[in-house]
Amino acid sequence: MTRKKRHRRRLTIGDWMIHSVLGLLFLIAVFPFYYVLIVSFADPVVYIHKVAYILPYSFDFQAYRMLVEDSMLGSSLKISAFITVVGTFISILLTLMAAYGLSKKGSPLRRFFMTLVLIPMFFWGQLIPYYLQIKSLGLINKVWVMILPLIVSPFYLVILKNYFLSIPASLEESAKLDGANDLRILFQIIVPISLPVIASITLFFAVDKWNEWWHAMLFVNDQKKWPLQMMLRDMLSSLTNSSISAIGKLMASKYKNMNPLSARMAAIILATIPILLVYPFLQRYFTKGIMIGSIKE
């Protein structure tokens, strides 16, 4: 007991320093989001009269009303939701099947397929050949261009395959003796016992798809088919000249006294909320997921 006490006292200054560094980093991590939130609700008149808007001085929904009711943000939300839901579903389904197949040690061509999966992690087609391939597939300006090319993620596939490899083969034996085929074994035996890992990979897929904008930027010209991220990009791209973007025009006509900064911050909040909602679940699993992925075969 006395030893423990002495021990604790000796480390106090070190602990204090560690906590002050970590505490400062905590503030740096959190403050921007707090600021975005309060500015998104700022009343334009109150905002102008404050020297520094660092407390929630006013509470005004105008920015959100404009974004949801009058801008194209509403329709882009639908596109994003579609891409996320459909894309994640296809991704996890195909990844499950492929990961299971690649975890079968005796299967023919297994090493060859694994090599095919791994090479794209280090080497890929350049922008122009990629664009020409997308074009020849007829995917330009299609919503599916934001889904199909992104179905496979070699990284998540390898994580899941490694996890399946760690499941003892004896579990499947009895089902095999009953004459169940591989597809049934996967979905009736393997999937139920792997749910935590599958859940975390599903969430990772969903977050990636929600955040996707690269394909939209390159291959979708039609603003009606833009996902939320692209709409946001359009709003944020012109720091000084906001009249270029669709939102800028709307503000110039209908919402004349709107603070453009509030509109932008409100859009950021809208894009962040879905991530915030799944974040606790993501966090529960990501350490586990990373560890499993880093186990070598």
């Binding site: 480390l11 070190g14 602990d15 906590h19 970590l22 905590f26 991590a29 959190v30 989001f33 600021y35 975005v36 404050k50 520094a52 808007y53 195909l94 099947m97 492929a98 197949g101 690649l102 005796g106 299967s107 023919p108 095919l116 999966v117 090479i119 794209p120 280090f122 080497f123 890929w124 087609g125 350049q126 922008l127 050949p129 990629y130 664009y131 020409l132 391939q133 179905i151 496979v152 596939l157 591989d182 977050v207 955040n211 996707e212 904008w213 690269w214 991220q229 946001l232 944020l236 900064l261 932008r264 911050m265 950021i268 991530i275 974040y279 966090q283 990501f286 350490t287 990373i290 880093s294």
Partner: protein, 311 residues
């Protein structure tokens, strides 16, 4: 039974094995097909860099021109300026972004209460899950004309900040925001590695009279060493291709000269009117080849040092 099977002709035996595993193969095939369509066909299309692209004849039937576009590239001062921007920005990001998560993990590891550890990690990791569009929006929100920084500078009677007008300041902003977004996430792998260190090592060291520093130096750091080596290989292999998402959403024509990197240069070259497809492909391929070479060199170096590599 076994002797009978081995007596069969090899081709038939192979076919039988494929037939036995037909469900397995059918389950793998969709992913392989998608990889071929969206990764391997464009990868083969990289030959465009050695051809004179004709829209009518497509990649495969265009005429070969050898290294013409690479020579054009190597002779271009603008390309080398972009190339050096990329090297400087990536190198500085590596210098800050590589040690930062290690230090962060070591600090978090010293926090005893699991609850506090968790809340720190929650805050540090969150930005990783947001796109660079959102993060760029937040940065611009702070630095916008009516944003917080200018408001405060105005209150202090100081002149407006110049981050978006000054290439050097802009670069520093790139390094810091990169660490802000990814540092917490990158520390997770180290923390996970730390949790695998046997606690009895610390107890034994304590009995021998080791202080905090000595424990970190002789137990914790050696435990992190191999993880650090692998992450270093990966980031060296990425030296020429990092930062597109970040820079494309933040830069402007004023800071372009100091912030234009290879991928943003390719992007602009590719989308500009009357762009030369072969040239744009040559730029990308040149970069890709160097990246792969760096990856292999880093991997070999780490192996020579007695650590396990990734390849």
């Amino acid at each position: 039974m076994t002797t009978k099977a081995s007596a069969q002709p090899p081709l038939r035996r192979k076919f039988k094995r494929v037939w036995n595993y037909r469900y397995i193969l059918m389950m793998v095939l969709p992913v392989i097909a998608l990889l071929i369509v969206f990764s391997y066909v464009p990868m083969l299309g990289n030959v465009l860099a050695f051809k004179e692209f004709s829209i009518r004849r497509g990649i495969w039937n265009s005429d070969w021109v050898g290294l013409k576009y690479f020579r054009q590239l190597w002779g271009m001062p603008q390309f080398w300026s972009v190339f050096s921007n990329q090297l400087i920005i990536s190198f500085m990001k590596l210098m800050i972004g590589f040690p930062y998560p290690i230090v962060l993990a070591l600090l978090i590891n010293e926090v005893r209460s699991p609850k506090i550890r968790r809340s720190y990690q929650t805050a540090y990791t969150f930005p990783h899950f947001l796109s660079w569009i959102v993060i760029a929006g937040i940065i611009k929100g702070f630095l916008a004309d009516q944003g917080l920084v200018n408001q405060m500078l105005l209150a202090l009677n100081a002149s407006k900040h110049r981050i978006f007008n000054d290439g050097d300041q802009f670069r520093v902003m790139l390094y810091l925001t990169e660490v802000w977004k990814e540092g917490g996430w990158n520390s997770i792998l180290y923390l996970a590695t730390l949790s695998t260190i046997n606690p009895s090592l610390y107890e034994a060291a304590e009995i021998d009279g080791a202080g905090r520093w000595q424990k970190i130096l002789y137990i914790t750091w050696p435990g992190l060493y191999s993880t650090a080596a692998i992450l270093l290989i990966l980031s060296v292999g990425n030296v020429l291709s990092g930062g597109f998402d970040q820079i494309i959403n933040l830069y402007n024509s004023v800071v372009m000269q100091k912030a234009d990197i290879i991928d943003t240069y390719i992007y602009r070259t590719a989308i500009s009117a009357g762009s030369n497809y072969s040239f744009a492909t040559a730029v990308g391929l040149f970069k890709s080849v160097i990246n792969v070479a760096l990856l292999i060199i880093a991997n070999t170096a780490v192996r020579r040092m007695g650590q396990e590599g990734i390849l």
